[in-house]
């Protein structure tokens, strides 16, 4: 399935909420066809950043630019090809898996035959086929997230934006979720994943580390660790945070 790869460029984004600065002069490059991790602790600004990209919020300053096949495009032009999974629960507890899929099919005007094939495929990958009639409210945490992913993947997006999709999910389900994302990597889909799990950073092709609204580091994970001379991303954050934090209390 050859698609024109989408890429995104963010330039000098600033965003405030009353007295807090959510994003402070953030510039990032999301190259096409790769899995990008936006890594940072809670309150770093990850969710704000993703919402800005999707047009759900507007920056106080700076631009978000979209490209398809290298050519600049507007967000509205690619809106049908971008899928989103918000951080908080965003599905309907009283609707079953199948009812969810039906709903999103209609929202994206997916033709019936395309939908049937896709639905089958997705249910198989997520191993949720036997649960299609179960209401979302009765699904386990991991299954709920998988449903969210299915709804996002239903219309074969060219770009996927996931906000902390594995938050609070047990390690096994987390793994399965990431495996599902990997299946997509063959298709050159642009994937943006935000997470506060440092160990997930290494699973991405590119990582962008954010803390308190500022970019701490950005690039290929392994190379970054070598350059900074640290063992893992925890250490990388601590290196940059040391100036603001007090020394650890000694015994």
């Amino acid at each position: 399935m050859a698609i024109d790869p989408i890429s995104i460029r963010i330039r000098n984004i600033k965003k405030n909420f009353k007295k807090t600065i959510a994003l402070d002069d953030v510039s990032l490059e999301f190259e096409a066809g790769l899995m990008h991790g936006v890594i940072g602790p809670e309150g770093a600004g990850k969710t704000t950043l993703l919402r800005l990209i999707l047009g759900l919020m507007r920056p106080a300053a700076g631009t978000v630019e979209f490209f398809r096949g290298g050519q600049p495009v507007t967000f509205e032009e690619i809106r049908p090809d971008i899928a989103y999974m918000p951080q908080q629960q965003s599905l309907y507890a009283d609707l079953s898996i199948d009812e969810h899929l039906e709903f999103f099919r209609a929202l994206y005007s997916i033709p019936k035959d395309v939908y049937q094939t896709k639905r089958q495929e997705l249910l198989q990958i997520t191993q949720l086929t036997e649960f299609v009639s179960r209401p979302a409210g009765q699904l386990s945490g991991g299954m709920y997230k998988k449903l969210g992913l299915m709804c996002a993947l239903l219309r074969s997006p060219h770009a996927l934006v996931l906000d902390e999709p594995t938050n609070g999910v047990d390690p096994i389900s987390r793994r399965e979720f990431w495996n599902m994302l990997y299946r997509l990597s063959d298709q050159k889909i642009l994937i943006l994943v935000s997470t506060s799990y440092m160990d997930e950073a290494e699973r991405c092709s590119r990582v962008h580390l954010i803390e308190r609204g500022k970019v701490v580091a950005s690039g290929e994970p392994r190379g970054l660790l070598v350059r900074e001379g640290v063992k893992n991303f925890d250490a990388l954050f601590m290196r940059h945070a040391v100036k603001d934090m007090k020394p650890v209390a000694t015994l």
Partner: protein, 373 residues
């Protein structure tokens, strides 16, 4: 930024909404149970007709005339007479709420009448109970006239006679007055309250964020969500009409089409109001409070449903102009009881149309397409 309106998307939202309605016990109870309860309460339990008012009678005269006077009261179905031993006892009955009124006939009542001095008896009314005072004093005057004639062919001196006849509702059946307006009360619950919750619920749920990231347009969301509630509203209206005609026997002498038009307009305004509240409030609690304050309260109290607009202070009389219920009640009573035509109800219809369009405009414009706090 304006994409064409896609019906399939709107209907997908409508279908989802139907699932939510059916699966939420609260909504279902409200939608089905409340109209029935309202009809029962306003139609059956509350009765503004005053009958069998307890009347304590102290007859200190004990003559044929005085007994005839008492008898006139007794034989009417408005009063339930019991005798008190003395004037003091009679007034004590009123104080102790054993009676709502007292008739005190002094000694020499007949003698004074026959002597041409004019007899006077005293009526004491329980002024603390305002629902009684008006009707009872009305009855009393009516009975007085009858009594006067009965007692000794004493007619009041005017050469003409003023006889009141109550047009359209000859027996002053309070139910005929109240029930046509019941449609709008039931509609207010269904249309404003339930609708106001629906979008607020998506915000609270967190699902609005996801919805907004899809190609669906605000207008599609609004139309989709309104459709089931509009259907419910129409069913409710038909239900109330049916009950009014069959069980309560309210006559309908007007044009059904005119009533239907009025119903449709009022419903549309209410739905728009519900949506307006829903897009303004970000959570269900606030939405419900707004719906109560701006929707249900005015409908029940300030629309003329029970308390006539004409008897409200000037400020409120002017205020009621912005409430669709006030205009609909005029239309409902007009079509049920008066047989008014569209032309005769032109004022209310014009007002309704204006309110409807205004509210719809406000609702659509207010729908935020983003997550800015």
């Amino acid at each position: 930024m304006t994409f064409p309106f896609v019906w399939s998307r709107a209907m997908a939202v409508a279908k989802k909404e139907v699932f939510h309605i059916l699966r939420d016990p609260f909504t279902l109870a409200l939608a089905l149970g409340l109209p029935v309860m309202m009809v029962i309460v306003y139609g059956v339990a509350i009765d503004f007709n005053i009958e069998n008012v307890a009347l304590a009678v102290s007859d200190s005269d004990q003559t044929q005339t005085s007994r005839r006077l008492v008898d006139t009261f007794d034989s009417s179905h408005y009063f339930l007479v019991h005798h008190a031993v003395s004037p003091a006892a009679a007034s004590q009955d009123v104080v102790a709420e054993r009676a709502k009124a007292a008739l005190i006939i002094p000694p020499r009542f007949e003698k004074d009448l026959l002597d041409g001095r004019g007899g006077s008896a005293q009526i004491l009314l329980d002024g603390a109970d305002s629902s009684v005072v008006g009707p009872v004093s009305g009855y009393v005057s009516g009975i007085q006239t009858i009594a006067s004639k009965r007692i000794g062919n004493f007619s009041p001196t005017p050469p003409y006679e003023l006889r009141s006849r109550f047009l359209f509702n000859p027996e002053l059946n309070s139910r005929w007055f109240v029930i046509p307006g019941l449609t709008v009360v039931v509609m207010a619950i269904l249309s404003i309250l339930l609708t106001s919750l629906t979008i607020a619920r998506e915000w609270e749920n967190g699902s609005m964020e996801l919805l907004l990231s899809t190609p669906v347009q605000p207008l599609e969301i609004i139309v989709g969500k309104l459709t089931p509630y509009a259907a419910l509203g129409i069913i409710a209206q038909a239900f109330v009409y049916g009950i009014a005609r069959t069980i309560f026997g309210v006559p309908f002498v007007g044009n059904l089409a005119v009533l239907a038009l009025g119903c449709g307009l009022c419903l549309a305004t209410y739905l728009a109001q519900g949506i307006f509240i829903s897009v303004t409030a970000r959570n269900q609690q606030v939405a419900m409070q707004m719906a109560m304050l701006s929707g249900m309260l005015p409908t029940n109290l300030l629309s003329g449903f029970i308390f006539p607009v004409a008897s409200m202070p000037l400020f409120f009389r002017i205020l009621t102009v912005i409430f669709p219920a006030r205009w609909f009640i005029a239309i409902a009573r007009g079509t049920f009881l008066k047989g008014s035509s569209l032309l005769q109800l032109g004022g209310p219809f014009l007002a309704l149309t204006l309110l409807c369009s205004g509210m719809m405009l406000a609702a659509t414009r207010r729908f935020k397409r983003d997550l800015e706090p």
